[in-house]
């Protein structure tokens, strides 16, 4: 008995693979044109580049396409021993241009062209052909190529200008929104969104980023088009993006940020592009609907984890590659029987608990590092003394601190509501004199054991007064 092995994706619809891929290409054309406008025409209009530089984005994308096409054809000729008509048939059905196209859309514009070619080579050979060609690959080929390039040549790319094109280097200078979000100390609108304009700039793609990912508006249009043409299912992109939205909403709410924060999170970086074009790749995503639901939830959780808990600013690429590994497993859960939803109840509940706990934890981790001495107040300030309050254990402690030429000479406690036994310990330890004597080296003064909160309050008082005098 002989079994005929067919290649996936086995999608039940009137579309054949050829039509699907044509529609995908049509959906990508506006995005390519926009990146041409943003990275080429806009630069030319502002006299940042010459005519060659204006067409450079198109040349960049075209190089990717040609490379992966040539590599796959040569590979098929050399190793699969296909000749003439068979080779032509193979090329028609293998869609060899897509890895290269996606690699060039996901890489920053400043990638040197030879590195782009190498990335396409890796994407096609290691990501696709070694597994047996189109339909057999486990991982998304384009993302394999990008991961290779970004992990090997990130220093070269960033020394070339990173993700910013020449125009943005002058107007914005610095980093992409997500890299910026890693650097800033406080999460607020002014430091996260203001440098790039406002949220509409994020929506219409007027922010630095890779060629394909910036214009969220066009990506959403492409998503609707692909949905209407039945090329992709709605589940993965919608659930993926809304998981990230909800998690960042919780993180934002804990830190007292408004609705703009989750919007900022989903509009910046490659999240939308990855969710629509990469995570839905029919070969490397689950085919059962339950599988897709779990896949999308986990993608969202992983992306938030990678973005907040690791050093890397962007987590979409890595999380999609990670989840690609689990696709056969998810499909098995999804296709086990028709009560699959009942069976998957425990995994789903576990996912929701994970989602909630993770976002609360991440939110709180920002919270603790942010608050610093909101209890300290200067009531009166002259050349010879300060009158300050600081919150102690039982209530505010009020003190008069005498100064003389940037040094503290005497501390007089005016009011305190501390428990008497605790306060006695501080007096016994002669803590106030210790603070005065060691004010040059104040961080190393130990607190009084048994009266930690009260002594810390006194110490903070001194530190803040010293800061104020210097400032």
């Amino acid at each position: 008995m002989k079994f005929n092995m067919l290649k996936g994706p086995f999608i039940k619809s009137k579309n054949n693979t050829n039509k699907i891929m044509t529609n995908l290409l049509i959906a990508l054309i506006p995005i390519i044109l926009f990146s041409f406008y943003k990275n080429g025409i806009l630069l030319y209009q502002n006299n940042k580049t010459d005519l060659f530089g204006m067409f450079y984005p198109l040349i960049f994308i075209f190089t990717g396409i040609i490379t992966s096409f040539l590599v796959e054809t040569i590979y098929a000729y050399l190793f699969l021993h296909l000749k003439n008509d068979k080779l032509k048939d193979y090329i028609k059905t293998s869609f060899s241009i897509f890895p290269g196209l996606f690699v060039s859309l996901v890489l920053p514009i400043n990638t040197p062209i030879e590195i782009l070619i190498l990335g396409c080579l890796v994407a096609t050979i290691i990501g696709k052909m070694i597994y047996g060609g189109f339909g057999h690959n486990i991982f998304n080929p384009a993302l394999i190529g990008c991961l290779f390039v970004l992990s090997t040549y990130s220093t070269i790319i960033s020394s070339n200008g990173g993700f910013l094109n020449k125009y943005e280097l002058d107007t914005i200078g610095g980093a992409t929104p997500l890299t910026n979000a890693k650097i800033v100390e406080r999460l607020d609108y002014d430091s996260l969104v203001k440098p790039y304009g406002d949220l509409s700039d994020f929506f219409f793609g007027n922010i630095p980023g890779t060629l394909g990912e910036t214009c969220s508006f066009l990506i959403i249009l492409a998503f609707i088009y692909l949905l209407l043409k039945h090329v992709i299912k709605w589940k993965i992109p919608i659930i993926y993006v809304s998981t990230v939205f909800i998690m960042t909403l919780i993180i934002g709410k804990i830190n007292g940020l408004g609705l703009w924060y989750p919007l900022f999170s989903i509009l910046s970086g490659g999240l939308l592009f990855g969710a629509v074009f990469m995570a839905t790749d029919p070969v490397t995503s689950p085919t059962t609907s339950l599988g897709q639901v779990i896949y999308a939830f986990l993608l969202g959780i992983l992306t938030v984890t990678f973005r907040y808990l690791t050093n890397a600013p962007e987590g979409v690429l890595t999380s999609i590659l990670t989840m690609n590994m689990f696709v056969p497993l998810l499909d098995r859960i999804g296709s086990s029987n028709k009560f699959a939803y009942k069976k998957a109840l425990i995994p789903l509940i576990a996912i929701f608990i994970l989602l909630a706990l993770l976002s609360i934890n991440i939110g709180n981790s920002f919270n603790t590092s942010e608050k610093e001495d909101s209890n300290f107040k200067i009531l009166e300030k002259t050349n010879s003394y300060y009158i300050v309050t600081e919150k102690g254990n039982g209530g505010p402690i009020k003190a008069k601190i005498y100064i003389d030429k940037d040094t503290i000479t005497k501390i007089e406690i005016l009011e305190n509501n501390e428990t008497e036994s605790y306060y006695k310990l501080i007096e016994e330890a002669n803590y106030i004199n210790k603070l005065i004597n060691n004010q040059k080296n104040i961080e190393n003064v130990d607190t009084v054991s048994g009266a930690t909160i009260s002594s810390t309050a006194l110490k903070k008082m001194v530190i803040n007064v010293l800061d104020d005098m210097e400032g």
Partner: protein, 212 residues
């Protein structure tokens, strides 16, 4: 001679039997480490094979593995102590990978499959063959990874206190594509090993995999 060649090509421990991969992936960041590791494995393998072959008749079948592990770890410990005392730099270089030879599957595998069934002469030849096969593969992987990944070729660096020579070469001028640092990372080790196995099978003639 046939047994030795068998160990290098037909039954190459890394490329065909896929044994001892942990140390293969870990020490091959540097050409020098690779051949030093290979030499250590050859020494341990030779002694353990000979000993196992000597006592094969008095070891009961059901306690085979513990006995052989004991023998191997004895030789590894002897080697470790000798190196620490006489050749300290080498001991420092090999570090954790030296004691890990004990659990290197190659040594135990050869003890179980060859030495416990054949005479001393064959066991000795087998040990030399397998050891050389392991060393060659390590050297090839390390050569590739170090030259392309780091743009250097270290032939003698950490043992230079011993020999008095320091031989570290820069191979080519760096450009945008090379050195390709991914090859120095663990991922690069897996990629190199995978491609080497593929190449080996390709040269051997991949006629057998038509069954798919």
């Amino acid at each position: 001679m046939k047994t030795i060649l068998n160990g290098i090509f037909k039954e190459n421990p890394v490329l065909v039997l896929l044994l001892g991969l942990c140390s293969t992936l870990a020490v091959t960041t540097n050409f020098e480490n690779a051949y030093l590791m290979g030499i250590c494995v050859i020494i341990v393998l030779t002694f353990s094979n000979i000993t196992v072959s000597l006592i094969k008749k008095i070891v009961p079948k059901n306690v085979e593995v513990p006995v052989y592990i004991l023998i191997i770890s004895t030789f590894v410990t002897i080697l470790e102590l000798l190196l620490e005392h006489y050749i300290k730099p080498l001991y420092d270089v090999l570090g954790i990978y030296l004691p890990l030879i004990v659990v290197n599957c190659i040594v135990l595998g050869r003890a179980l499959s060859v030495a416990s069934k054949s005479n001393i002469r064959t066991s000795f030849k087998d040990a030399i063959g397998i050891g050389l096969g392991y060393t060659f593969v390590l050297m090839i992987i390390a050569l590739f990874r170090e030259v392309i990944g780091n743009n250097t070729l270290t032939i003698m660096s950490s043992t230079s206190k011993l020999t008095g020579y320091k031989l570290v070469y820069k191979v080519f001028d760096a450009n945008t594509l090379f050195p390709m640092n991914i090859l120095i990372t663990p991922a690069g080790a897996f990629l190199t090993l995978g491609f080497l196995i593929a190449l080996f099978n390709f040269i051997k003639g991949g006629k057998k995999n038509e069954s798919r």
